[in-house]
Every structure is written in C-alpha cells, then in structure tokens.
C-alpha cells in the first residue's frame, strides 16, 4: 500500500514541477503577475509530495516490506532502525529520490527566503529549478523507480545493506554531500535566470552569495565526513583514494570555491560577470555528471550503459540538454553582461582571478584523470587506469603556488597596489613562517625533505598571514565593528585550509606503515611505540559475528588499549575489517586485522600517522568559516533602492 502511495505522490510531484515550469513562463511572456506569483504555490506542492514519496519509502524500510525490490536489496530484518533509514539512500534509486527531495528543499528555501529578490529573477530561478526537478522525477519514474514490487521471493530476510555503509559516517555523509551537490543548482538557476533576463545588474551576485556559501558549506562538510569515513571504514588507513566517486564530489567543490571568490568580485567591483556565470554553470554541471555517472555505475565501467540502455540514454540526453543547453545560452547571451574593465596587475582583483584560474585548472586535471580511462575504453584503445600518483604529483605542483597566492593575496589592496608594499607589510609573517615549521620539524627529529619543508613553510605563511590580517583589522578600526561575519568567516576558512594543507603534507611525508604477522602475546616496536597483541575473542552483533582482538600501545607514560575487529556479516557472508585507532591531536596509531594465517597468528597492519587529524579539523574549520560567512547580516538587509 505504502509503495503505491509513494508512486502516486511522485506522479503528483511531477505534475507540480511541470506546472512550476509552464505557468510562470506563460506569466513572464504575457506579463501577468498573478501567473508569475503562482510559482511559490507549486514549489510548496512539489515539496509536500516529494516529501510524502520519501516518507513512503522510509515506511517501506521500517516495515521490512521485502516485496519492494529496493528494500529487499538494501535492507534486512536485523538491520538496526537507524541504518534502515540510511539504507533508503544506500542504492541508486533511493539516492535519486533523496536528490529530488533535497532539490525541492532548496527550491522552497529560495521561494520563501528571498523576498527582496527582484521578481523577474526570482521567478526565472524557480522555473529553472522546477525544470530540473521535473527532469529528475521523470528519470526516477521511468528508469529508477524505488517502489517496484516483486512476488517471487516471499520467505526472505532481505539482502542487507552493504556492510561498508553500516557506520555513523554514513548517517551524515551522503545527505550532506547531496545538500552541497544540489545546492549548486541554485547558483546554476541564478546564472541561467540572469542570462535569460539579459539585464546587467550586480544585485543578483549579492543575493546569490549566501546560497552558494550554504551549498559550499554542506559540500565541504560532506567531503570531510566522507574522507573520515573512508579512513576508518575502508580499513587501509588512506583518507583519500582519488577514486572516481571521490573525484566527482571534489570537482564541484573546487569550482564552488572559485565561484565564492568570483562572486565577491562581481558584487564589489562588477568585474568578470561572464566568468562567474560560467563558473556557476560549470559547478552544477559537474555535480550532475557526478551524481549520474557515479550513482548509475557508469564510471566504474562504460559497459554499465549496455546493462540498462534506457537509463544510460536518458542520462546522456538529460546531461546533453542541461549542460549543452546552458552553455549554448551562455555563448549566445554572455555578450549582454560583459563589461570591459581590467584590474591592475598587482591588485586584489588579479589575485582572486589567479586563484580562480588555479582552482579551475585543478578541477580540469581531476576531470582529465577521471574520464581519461573511460574515453580510452570507449574508443576501444585498451583498458587502463590512472593511478593516485598522477593526482598527487599534479596537486603538489598546483597547490604550491596556490598557497603562496593565498598568503599574498589577502594583503593586496583592491584596484592597485605595489608588490614591495605588500612584502613590507608581510615581513615578519614570512620570517616567522619560515622559522617555525623548520624548527618544529628539527625539534622532533624528523628528516627535512625539500618538498615537505616548502609545503610546511607555505602553509604556515598562509596561517600567519591570515592572523596578521586580523591584527591589522583590529588595529585599524580600534573597535570590533569591522569584524563582520563575512570577514570572520574568511579568516576561519583560510586558516582551516592551511590546517588541512599542513595535515596532508606532514601525514604524507612522515607516516609509517607496516604489515606484520602477530600472535596473541607478541610484542613489537613500531614508530617508537611498544605494541602488544593481548588476546582475541569472538563477538556477536545484531547482524554479524566476528573476532575482536585487543592491542596495548605503550610509550613512556602513555598507555592505551584498542580493539580492532574482523566481522562477517550474516546475510552477505561478507568479511569486513573494523580498524581501531589510538587518537591524539598530533598522531594516530591505527591497527587493522588482516587475515588469520595459522592456528593463532594474524596478519596485522599498523600505521603511524602524524597530524592526520588536522586534515579533517581543517575541513571542519572551513565549514565553520562558511557558516560565519552565511551569518553576515549584510546579505539579508533589504537593499535601499
């Protein structure tokens, strides 16, 4: 019953999203205000019915309705209830429904929370979002209906959620990521609306900034959570694998970061309008490509298209219409919004433009590395894979100048400045920033690799240069008045970025990894720590059984016992490694159980990871910085016309 209700709700939602497109467009061309204003009503209707459909799917999961194929494939009787709710988006069909739900949420947010926005723009934004929503709902109904039933298999306990996904990280990671992905739809819709209207004004940039910031915040948090989850759950100590799935979320993040900076230029200086619009279109296009290609399994193989031709065809057509159409519109209308003014070489504008170029080039290198194997395979030229070292090399080379630019750019004045003047302002920063990291590295007896030192120094420069900016702001104004939300957000986010950079550099350079054969009772000396395999015991969880072992980590006064596990999930008979970590702010000791080797021995993997927590701490700081930026009151004041 519930599944059928869900399908009906989806059909109703489709109807509302189509009305949301047709009626206001009619209103726009007949200049009928009532028809244009009707958009808000349809947005609400759409949200209600998609919410209902999503609720129905949740209901199916909670009731263990295994006649619904999607529930059967992603849940089991013994799955704890909160994982059942996660399992709703554990597969392709459900995650598409979550996508549409979040899109409806953002659409409603735009409809309700932007009363000061110019009506011509606002209605167009809602229409574009409605069209996207309609496209997605049709896709769900035609090719990925999560409510399909089967009556072949009746005596079953369900096939269970993939054990890798049964983790707290998974409770928050996908929804956050989707909030970010889909949030860029708002920026996209604004860009299309501006091009459609063809009118040059900068107010839209100011209205768009909080939306972009909100989406960027969610994406940042989503990626950070995902990286943390991969680190703990995938068992092999890496926090980033340059996997197509990860790249798909990273590319919109890079473009989103560029967009946030470009919007400042548009709002403050009214420059690079066309470039900003192009960024907004690109950011969402990458989100779309990411969602579709990743969730439909196309990225793992081009053959996935052959498995379900209708789905593949629809995806290609949808991507073609949305991305191709918007780029065509851009090519056709961008002339109308272009302004011919160029900033001075040494100026904040130039620094921001350069930052944009670096971020976009980074995105392009990721894109190339991700789709290159697909293209080669598609052309029938053989099968190959692009290894993580490619990405690491390219990113090291590109982020070095980016960090330098960050340290500098912050202190360059708008319009015109002198290079030497900036250097003079930053004298102590560069001096101290050179000494501090090197002294720290020497004091803990780490070897000094040139690239590591360079990276650490640059990251410290960014850190100090950000602090210097705060100091100057405080001195300049005497009161704390000048420290508004946007400024504070910028400071925290930039600081967070340098924290992440430092974490990456140190953990990659000085991390130690070892695979060992160990029997209970055995000691080993690892990275200056005494590690003892105490014992192993069997355990039994709600939907798995396995072995839990205990390890004692000792160094001087410090003692900790941690418990890595090997689990076998009952339904899929799938073995899983649950690693255990001894955490402190400057290092992780990470232990994972491999396989049983003989009667008592196990293969054990040990990691020593210095500063690895800083990677996620920095991500969290960027998120918090974004939230402060969002809280800036300037965005919400009504503009005195």
């Amino acid at each position: 019953m519930m599944a059928e209700l869900g399908v009906y709700a989806l059909v109703w939602a489709l109807l509302f999203s189509l009305l949301l497109v047709l009626v206001p467009v009619w209103g726009i061309y007949t200049k009928n205000a009532t028809w244009m204003n009707a958009a808000t009503t349809y947005v609400t209707g759409q949200l209600i019915f998609i919410g209902l459909a999503y609720g129905c799917l949740c209901g199916c999961f909670l009731q263990n309705d295994f006649t619904v194929v999607y529930v059967l494939a992603n849940s089991s009787l013994h799955l704890p209830w909160f994982y059942k709710l996660c399992a709703v988006w554990g597969g392709h069909e459900g995650s598409m429904l979550l996508w549409v739900l979040i899109l409806a949420f953002w659409t409603s947010a735009v409809a309700w929370a932007s009363p000061h926005l110019d009506r011509d723009i606002r209605v167009r934004v809602l229409v574009v979002l409605g069209a996207l929503s309609a496209g997605f709902i049709v896709f769900i109904l035609m090719t990925s209906n999560p409510f399909v039933r089967q009556f072949v298999l009746t005596q079953t306990e369900g096939r269970d959620l993939n054990p890798l996904l049964q983790d707290i990280g998974f409770l928050f990671h996908p929804p956050m990521l989707y909030m970010g992905y889909v949030g860029f739809a708002v920026a996209f819709a604004f860009a299309i609306a501006v091009l459609w209207l063809g009118r040059l004004e900068t107010k839209w940039a100011k209205s768009l900034r909080p939306w972009t910031m909100a989406a960027w915040c969610c994406l940042t948090l989503g990626i950070t959570l995902g990286s943390w989850w991969a680190y703990r759950e995938l068992g092999w100590g890496g926090w980033w694998f340059w996997d197509p799935v990860e790249n798909a979320s990273f590319m919109p993040w890079l473009v989103g970061t560029a967009l946030i900076h470009a919007l400042i230029l548009v709002e403050k200086r009214n420059q690079f309008v066309a470039w900003t619009l192009l960024l907004a279109i690109t950011g969402f296009s990458l989100s779309l490509v990411g969602t579709f290609l990743v969730r439909s399994g196309v990225l793992t193989s081009v053959h996935a298209f052959a498995v379900d031709p209708l789905r593949g065809l629809y995806i290609l057509m949808f991507l073609g219409v949305v991305i191709g159409g918007s780029l065509l519109l851009f090519a056709w209308r961008a002339q109308t919004v272009v302004q011919h003014r160029l900033p001075d070489w040494v100026s904040r504008e130039s620094a921001m433009l350069l930052n944009n170029i670096f971020l976009v080039v980074m995105m392009l290198t990721v894109l190339l590395g991700t789709v290159y194997p697909l293209v080669i395979d598609g052309l029938g030229l053989g099968k190959l894979s692009v290894g993580a070292p490619y990405f690491n090399q390219v990113f090291t080379a590109l982020s070095t100048p980016l960090l330098l630019l960050m340290a500098f750019g912050l202190h360059v004045n708008w319009q015109r400045d002198s290079f030497l003047g900036v250097l003079r302002k930053l004298g102590w920063v560069f001096g101290l920033g050179l000494l501090c990291p090197l002294l720290c590295l020497v004091s803990v007896h780490y070897p000094l690799y040139p690239m590591t030192c360079l990276g650490a120094v640059l990251a410290t420069w960014v850190m100090f240069s950000t602090l210097e900016k705060v100091r100057q702001r405080l001195l300049l104004s005497k009161t704390a008045k000048k420290i508004n939300g946007a400024f504070l957000g910028m400071v925290i986010a930039h600081f967070g970025f340098s924290v992440t950079a430092l974490g990456i550099i140190i953990s990659n350079s000085y991390g130690i990894e070892d695979d060992l054969k160990m029997t209970p009772g055995e000691h080993t000396l690892f990275a200056g720590y005494d590690i003892q395999f105490l014992q192993e015991a069997s355990i039994r969880g709600p939907n798995y059984h396995g072995t839990r072992s205990s390890f004692l980590i000792t160094q001087g006064q410090h003692q900790a016992t941690i418990y890595p596990e090997k689990r076998i999930y009952d339904v899929g008979k799938m073995p899983m490694t649950e690693s255990a970590i001894d955490v402190n702010p400057v290092r992780d000791i990470y232990i994972a159980m491999g396989e049983p080797l003989d009667a008592t021995a196990w293969s054990i993997r040990l990691y020593y990871k210095p500063f690895v927590r800083w990677i996620w701490a920095g991500g969290l700081m960027m998120f918090i910085g974004g939230c402060f930026g969002l809280s800036d009151r300037r965005f919400y004041r009504k503009e005195a016309a």
């Binding site: 160029l342 099968k383 390219v394 080379a397 339904v571 491999g594």
Partner: protein, 179 residues
C-alpha cells in the same frame, strides 16, 4: 596598440602560458602513472613489457594460494581460463580476496613471467566482478563456472542471492571466528 587592448592581450597570453604549463605537467604526470590492463593470456604470450607498472586481472585459481609460514609473502595464480599467471605479493590481502573471485593485481611483470604485485584489489561486494576481468572472460566460460555477475538492481533475477557456501580462505576465517 590601444593600451587597454595591449593589457588584455598580455593577460590572455599570461593565462595561456599558465594553462600550457599546467597541460605539460599533466601530460608528464599522466604518462608516468598510467597502468594498462592485461589478461593472463596476453602476459603468457610474452607481448607485455616488463618495466612498466601494469594491471593484470583474472580469477583466483582454486587451491593456488600459498602462504609462506614465516612471513607475509603470499603467492597465487590468476586465470582467464585460457592461461594462468603466478602473482607474488607481500602483505595483507583485501577482505574480499578469495579463491574463484575476480581480482586485479597492480605491479610489474618479472622476466620469468611471474608478476610482482604491489597492490591487490578485490572490491565492493561478493557479487562484484571487476569490469575488466568480466570483459576478458568469454561469456560461455562465465556460464560454465557460474561466476557471480552483476545485474541491474531492478531485475528480478538479481534477487535470489546464490549461497556460495564457505570456501577457501574464508573457511579459515570462519573456523577461527566460530571456535
């Protein structure tokens, strides 16, 4: 030239130079880090270079896993049901590695046509077959050995999950876990 135009030109040239530099870097890094995929047949035919890092994929031959009793050295055979290649590896194998499972090994080919792996990949879930491996096996063989294949999530054929029973390395794990 008009000063504004000249500025514009220099900006464009600057950006182009930067992009060209980036492109050069990318191509260099790409050339270094591409690993081509080969099947055991291609390797045994001797047409595969021995210096570059490559990937080889196939199905782990039943009973071919040999562990060194004193270290983490392990050796097993990969097959595409036409030819078989020996893989040597040192370290912890992934959770889903077991006999008759499709896996991919990354590493270098030695002169004696054995393969020294730096990484062994067996991913996702037990019904998963790496696409390259699946494509390299002939469809008839796929049926004959009833290899697990991946079907679209919506097809009903996907629903009854075959019970493979406990076998291979997993039986060791299972015995250990139940005792």
């Amino acid at each position: 030239m008009h000063p504004l135009r000249r500025r514009k030109l220099s900006v464009i040239i600057g950006i182009l130079l930067l992009v060209a530099l980036a492109a050069g870097l990318v191509l260099y890094a790409l050339r270094q880090n591409i690993s081509l995929f080969y099947t055991p047949s291609q390797i045994m035919a001797g047409s595969v270079p021995t210096l570059n890092a490559i990937r080889v994929g196939g199905v782990v031959v039943k009973g071919s896993i040999q562990r060194d009793p004193n270290s983490l050295d392990v050796q097993f055979k990969l097959t595409d049901y036409a030819q078989t290649v020996t893989i040597k590896y040192q370290g912890v194998l992934p959770d889903l590695f077991r006999e008759e499972q499709g896996v991919i090994a990354q590493g270098t080919l030695q002169d004696d046509l054995s393969f020294q792996a730096t990484q062994v990949l067996a991913k996702h879930d037990e019904n998963y077959m790496p696409p390259e491996v699946k494509a390299s096996l002939q469809p008839k063989l796929l049926e004959k050995v009833s290899l697990p294949t991946r079907l679209p999530p919506n097809s009903l054929a996907d629903v009854p999950r075959p019970d493979h029973g406990i076998q291979g390395t997993r039986s060791v794990v299972a015995e250990k876990l139940t005792s």
